[in-house]
């Protein structure tokens, strides 16, 4: 394998990682504003405030970086990077289009993706622990509990897709996709997407960072660039989640003219899902912690187990 080629793929992934989350963020600003009957950012950059997030970034970069005196300094400083980087690494394994239009084919890619995403939780936990702040700690623990609870349905739903496709490779899964998989795996898709939302602590599952309750959870003490990285990781997470849902449940590049325009189909589906994420934020109120937990254990997990059973039966019947 050519080093240059590999480097190029990495840079491409990095670029996507830096750009798309910003786009999603900007979209969120505008979509929320419109849904709530207001304008949203309008000035930065001129046209409808397109440069708002860039401006935000510059602002964060110029702010003082405060580390509380009681904090566990090292861990406190490291936490944002830990929260962010897994999403970057995951991106490289997600196929964009057919015929190898993918950062890197990783065998057992599904495993890889789920495993690496699991590292992200460490960032929040580290932040919550190292801040030496009661709110942060509580937020961190809530994050951990929530992530653990929702990881399981997510895994099970992903397993269902792997069963259907008979492979763990992400391009392999998309290859094996047929249109009727959508109704077949719809429960799994729902579980996966919902659980993913919860993992990202997006509303309505944002109890761990409930600003009205525990200020901002694990991120209370963060300022400046480090805080920005946490924000970035959230939007990168949306990207990854939507991309994975697309690949696993919505057929990825499949669509009319997919040979040439496959990557476009993938991006389109991702953005539609991202819109849904934003939409949900605006629509639903925050769940209470107990509701949050119960939802995972008593709704999503049984659903995903049912989906597994369904997949297995159908698969055996048709083979």
């Amino acid at each position: 394998m050519n080093l240059l080629d590999a480097l190029l793929r990495c840079v491409a992934a990095l670029a996507a990682f830096l750009v798309i989350p910003l786009v999603i963020g900007q979209t969120e600003h505008k979509v929320m504003a419109h849904m709530q009957g207001r304008l949203g950012p309008m000035y930065a950059g001129g046209f409808h405030g397109w440069a708002q997030l860039v401006a935000d970034g510059v602002k964060f970069a110029q702010k003082e970086d405060v580390v509380p005196s009681g904090a566990d300094r090292r861990i406190f400083q490291l936490a944002p990077a830990v929260a962010l980087l897994p999403y970057l690494v995951v991106l490289i394994a997600i196929p964009l289009g057919p015929n190898g239009l993918v950062g890197q084919v990783v065998d057992a890619g599904l495993f890889f993706v789920l495993a690496v995403m699991g590292i992200g939780v460490l960032g929040s936990l580290m932040a919550g622990w190292a801040s030496a702040n009661k709110f942060s700690l509580l937020g961190g623990i809530r994050t951990a509990a929530q992530l653990m609870s929702y990881e399981l349905p997510m895994l099970l739903a992903a397993a269902s897709v792997a069963m259907a496709a008979g492979t763990l490779s992400l391009p392999g899964i998309v290859d094996a996709f047929h249109w009727w998989w959508v109704p077949w795996q719809i429960i799994g898709g729902f579980v996966f997407f919902t659980a993913g939302l919860a993992e990202l602590q997006r509303p309505p599952f944002d109890m761990p960072v409930a600003d009205s309750e525990i200020i901002f959870g694990a991120y209370t003490e963060y300022t400046g660039l480090r805080f920005a990285l946490f924000l970035l990781s959230e939007y990168a997470g949306i990207l990854v989640l939507c991309a994975l849902t697309t690949v696993l449940f919505l057929g990825g590049w499949h669509g009319p003219f997919s040979d040439g325009l496959g990557w476009l189909w993938t991006l389109l589906k991702i953005f539609v899902l991202a819109f849904v994420v934003i939409w949900l934020r605006v629509t639903y109120p925050r769940l209470r912690q107990d509701q949050l937990m119960r939802f995972a254990w008593t709704v999503l997990i049984p659903l995903s187990l049912a989906q597994l059973a369904l997949t297995g039966i159908v698969k055996v019947v048709i083979s």
Partner: protein, 530 residues
């Protein structure tokens, strides 16, 4: 396999040759552990659905299930069934490629495991109630552990063996701590930490052995070790030794015994009984399987190792038992705990002999001894449990004049202790020792036989002192009146619960019958077990 990372590579990895992997399952062969497992699960679910006042039913369900599992052994008595077999595994013996073999060795140890669990269940029917332990969990854990103990002797590959061992141990940790009090917690923690460490060490050994032998099937492993390149010999030997260390923890061989007395004393008495018999038998079966089947090429190494372990174990166990004071709390269980360490030493003797001997059948001696030990030790524990109901401290002094209060219990305990000591009229105990001695003498392990002889004599002292205590008349209440601060236990002790009596009676009758006809047990000595 090619270098390209095709999307289906993992599938390729997994499906080497499906035809060789998939075979029909011999349900009859796996029935004994299966029944226990299904019952365990059933009880767990039933516990959720039953109203609180019906909870005692669970105990009887467990008893019934274990009895059923014991009955399931009957169709297997010819000892020729095997299942989960792979034809691809190279092995010299008939069942070499099988992961589950129901031969006579298996049957004997399954008998111990399930029978021991049955008696434990009888012992605990009232304990669960009286000590307010959660019924569903208790029976689930007990049956689960029994499942593992029944599975272990049948397993013929290291993966199954390790899983079985864990299935024995993990519920046992929980059982020890299920009373959720101070002592239970401490006991469980000590048990847990040492056992878990041992498991890790054992797994490291297994990984070494696997590297050298190239298989996890015991028979194939022996072949592999035989032909292993010379460079790997040390690795393989280290692996074998480490694997033995893991099992040595389970049987509590010195120097891996320290957890045992604390654990037994802190656990509920029936659980201690269970550990001393079933868990120990499982560990022993593991050692026997691993050494005689897998590590055959290194027979002399582990033979010597086991001989030293055996000598140290019995000596330390007996000496520590001698030092027990009769007036300390829980000294009765503690004494039994140390004595069980010593007995583990005797049990290891034939296994060590197996490393030396070419003729004879040392494993049979271990099996026979284990069977006898199971019966009499459970008998002793049964009476201890009965006494523990009235004398909460369960000191040895509480056994004074037991004969005048409860003649039957005292006789049962006395007989069990004499059997443990190996003294007539506990004839079966004598012959158990004889069998072990013979194995050692046959193998030329004269020094071990002499050490054991000395130990038998030492052990005799504390067994006999306890036995004598049973028949000593009650001293007129004197300075130790504070010990009897609770009003004379007599009034509330009028009746033993029926299951407890049944357990005492079963073991006592078993010991007496075996004393009259030792052949019932000792026939395993003359048959080849594998």
């Amino acid at each position: 396999m090619t270098a390209t990372t095709t999307p289906h590579q993992l599938a390729d990895l997994a499906v080497a040759n499906p035809g060789a992997l998939i075979q029909s399952v011999d349900w009859v062969a796996i029935a004994p552990p299966l029944i226990a497992a299904v019952a365990a699960l059933g009880i767990l679910v039933a516990d959720l659905l039953l109203p609180a006042r019906r909870k005692p039913l669970l105990g009887w369900a467990a008893v019934a299930a274990l009895a059923l599992a014991l009955l399931a052994l009957i169709p297997l008595r010819h000892g020729d069934r095997a299942t989960f077999c792979l034809k691809t595994v190279a092995a010299t013996t008939d069942n070499g490629g099988c992961s589950y073999v129901a031969d006579h060795f298996t049957l004997v140890f399954q008998l111990i495991a399930l029978g021991g669990a049955l008696l434990t269940a009888l012992l605990s029917v009232h304990t669960v109630d009286e000590q307010r332990m959660p019924a569903g969990e208790y029976w689930f854990l007990l049956l689960g552990s029994a499942t593992g103990a029944a599975l272990l002797p049948a397993s013929r590959d290291l993966a199954t063996l390790i899983i079985a061992l864990e299935v024995v141990s993990l519920p046992a940790f929980a059982l020890v701590g299920l009373r959720r009090d101070r002592l239970g917690g401490e006991a469980a923690l000590k048990f847990f930490l040492s056992s878990v460490t041992a498991t890790a060490v054992m797994l490291l050994g297994v990984s070494f052995v696997y590297a050298a032998g190239g298989s996890l099937h015991l028979a194939a492993l022996a072949d592999g070790l035989d032909h292993a390149p010379a460079q790997l010999r040390h690795l393989a030997q280290a692996g074998a030794a480490l694997t033995l260390v893991g099992f040595a923890f389970k049987v509590a061989a010195v120097p891996f015994h320290f957890w045992l007395p604390d654990t037994y004393t802190g656990a509920p008495v029936p659980v201690a009984a269970y550990l001393s018999v079933v868990s120990k038998a499982a560990g022993l079966a593991g050692i026997a399987l691993v050494t005689t089947l897998a590590f055959r090429p290194y027979a002399h190494t582990w033979g010597l190792l086991l001989a030293i372990l055996a000598a140290a174990t019995m000596t330390v166990g007996n000496v520590a038992a001698l030092r027990q004071r009769p007036d300390t709390p829980r000294s009765a269980v503690r004494l039994l705990a140390w004595s069980s360490i010593a007995q583990a030493g005797y049990l290891l003797v034939p296994l060590a002999a197996a490393g030396y001997g070419h003729d004879g059948n040392p494993l049979g001696a271990t099996a026979a001894y284990a069977l006898i030990y199971a019966v009499v030790n459970l008998g002793a524990f049964a009476v201890v449990a009965a006494v523990g109901r009235t004398a909460a401290e369960n000191r040895l002094d509480d056994y004074r004049a037991l004969f005048s209060r409860r003649p039957a219990s005292a006789l049962a305990l006395g007989f069990a202790l004499l059997c443990l000591a190996g003294l007539p009229p506990g004839v079966v105990g004598v012959f158990a020792k004889v069998v072990v001695f013979r194995a050692a003498v046959d193998a030329g392990l004269g020094w071990l036989a002499v050490v054991m002889a000395a130990n038998v004599v030492v052990a005799l002292y504390y067994y006999l002192v306890w036995t004598a205590k049973l028949f000593t008349p009650q001293a007129t209440p004197q300075p130790q009146a504070q010990a009897q601060a609770q009003p004379e236990p007599q009034p509330q002790a009028h009746r033993m619960p029926a299951p407890l009596s049944a357990a005492v009676a079963l073991t006592a009758v078993g010991a007496v019958v075996l004393s009259l006809a030792p052949q019932l047990v000792l026939q395993v000595v003359s048959t080849t077990l594998f």
